[in-house]
Symmetry: C2
Subunit: 344 residues, 2 copies
DNA sequence: TTGAAAGCGCTAACAA
DNA sequence: TTGTTAGCGCTTTCAA
């Protein structure tokens, strides 16, 4: 009987032979050992150790039809998100949770629209058990692709075409942007602020849309002029604040749709001699600690559990897979929390 | 754990049946069609299209012993590199080249030292054909792991333990940090600068070490006091420049080991009323366009083809795999280029 | 040039 | 509880 031939990896056959059991029993032990008598389990385990046996994934996949792998799809226009600490954290959450589920992370970078064919083929090839994708623009063909290929997919961030009213049951994981924004604005109100402005994010992103909605929820009759458009960069926050100060010098509270824009606003306020929070209170969103803690003054902001959202994406996916692999699992919206620092 | 996707995909058997050929012939066509007569090729191709056949990867891997997958390993301490545009670019290069080679990218995030077991097991499982890892610290167990497991690995950036003199034949891809630094300093010399300082990067990273070496190559007898330690952040560049100005007011040229530090230095020079490049000429390294182009004045710097280095990593790996999968392929050092803007 | 047949290494009925 | 056996879908000799 073949023992370990140098070069080639030991097979289950070899383990079984060495332990003096059948391949089936060896397999049972390797897969948990349920229903195998103690001494045999021991012998097989020992054989595994001695031989340095590692199961052949391809063979296993061939029969079980499970890959133990999940695709993370990132569309080219958003490859920038790699530079986004937000994404790093989410990816880490995904990675950790996947590891906990003994699954691997296959990274799919979509380079151009022609690339969707490749992605579709790959997904159709059944190489992965499911897919995770990130918030997409209106025209993104990806949801159609994953749907057609019939591969369970969970989105990170509510996709624009999956609004609460669209009726499209697309599973996604997102934080409660609207609720968080409400809380931020309510906090400013509770501080007695009378003229609360909003520096909004780009309105083709649901997070920005929802945060604006949250602002409006609280300030139903706010002067529309108090809402200014930014693009999530610090610079745009500065520009927005400058305009605000010029047109609405009475402003005494600002809710920025993210911390970066808030930091830009803070800088402008300082330049203009407005004291924060005395003259103007400022609240951000995201709680990107490296910015929120180092602004002057430190920024009060809305925090979300980003890594947790990554983990959740995996959990939602796996739950769906476990159910039957077809029924789309439900979406999850995670709570936010107001983190008080000095700026408001 | 993931479960199968219901709805069984068509097999090669089905294709063969539909085309009225044997499975062997169908297989040949699917794999290029060499040595199959024209009409048969056509018939099989058509059957493939009609059935929407996609080869089962697991089955193929089982017999060919090739996975069509490469692991990209990122050690936890450097997970920050996700926030590094440098890494995004390199990853993109890797992804593109891998796609060109019909291979997938399996992302392995190492969370802690205990995680190396998991990584080792995974690599040992033969799930991937090779691995790409990023520049590691001295004590990193990863090279030992990949070596022991016998999986071909290419490193990004020269690992500290693979110095030119160490004799360790570890394949890596890096840019010519030393040569680039030499060119930068030589440029300052050619500008007639007499007192050229160096703001060095952290000396536990080979890129920083090599750049310092390059500086010394040109300025053999430079005053050691003209070399100041930074940590690759803009802030550290500012601090370094401040100290330099205090202790060496005669300085008229600065080579910073990266653009971020150069930008910090630029800011300090401005504050101190030194004109750039008239009073002090400044050269950076990396050509991170979003910083080098937006400094005041725009930064002259050393550019490297980052995405190209990513592609190269894959090419080096694949070349090694093609050879015999054992012999370690050689390392590659890519050239750098001085990009002249205004600062020098 | 084509086909028949033998596995690749594993799991899961089914028997014992 | 354990073993026997039949594949999973594919590539690849080997013959025809």
């Amino acid at each position: 009987m073949p023992v370990s031939i140098p070069g080639s990896r030991p097979t289950l056959e070899a383990v079984a032979a060495r332990a003096g059991v059948s391949r089936a029993t060896a397999s049972r032990v390797v897969n948990g050992g349920d229903g195998v008598r103690r001494p045999l389990v021991e012998r097989v385990r020992q054989a595994v150790d001695e031989l340095g046996y590692v199961p052949n994934h391809a063979a296993r996949t061939l029969v079980t039809r499970r890959n133990g792998a999940v695709a993370v799809i990132i569309a080219e226009p958003e490859i920038r998100i790699f530079s986004d600490p937000f994404f790093s954290l989410q990816l880490r959450g995904i990675s950790r949770e996947l590891t906990a589920h003994d699954s691997q992370l296959v990274l799919l970078l979509v380079e151009g629209s022609g690339d969707y064919d490749r992605i579709a083929r790959y997904l159709a090839g059944g190489h992965v058990d499911g897919a995770l994708a990130f918030s997409l623009h209106t025209e993104d063909p990806l949801p159609a692709v994953t749907h057609k290929v019939g591969i369970p997919t969970v989105f990170g961030g509510r996709p624009v075409w999956a609004g609460p009213e669209s009726g499209l049951a697309v599973p996604y994981v997102d934080c409660d942007n609207r609720g968080g924004a409400r809380e931020a604005v309510q906090h400013l109100v509770s501080l007695g602020r009378q003229h609360i402005a909003h520096i909004a994010g780009p309105q083709d992103q649901t997070s920005a849309i929802d945060r604006l909605d949250g602002y409006r929820d609280v300030l139903l009759d706010a002067d529309p002029g108090l809402t200014v458009q930014g693009d999530f960069t610090a610079g745009s926050g500065a520009v927005a604040m400058t305009g605000l100060l010029a047109r609405h010098p009475e402003v005494d509270g600002v809710f920025a749709a993210n911390d970066l824009m808030a930091s830009g606003a803070l800088a402008v306020l300082r330049e203009h001699g407005r004291r924060v929070p005395d003259d103007v209170a400022v609240v951000g969103f995201d709680n990107m600690v490296n910015v929120a803690e180092s602004t002057d003054p430190p920024l009060t902001t809305v925090s979300q559990d980003i890594e947790g959202m990554g983990r959740l994406m995996v959990q939602v996916l796996v739950r769906g897979l476990d159910r039957d692999g077809v029924t789309p699992p439900g979406s999850v919206v995670t709570p936010t929390e107001l983190v008080r620092r000095v700026s408001a």
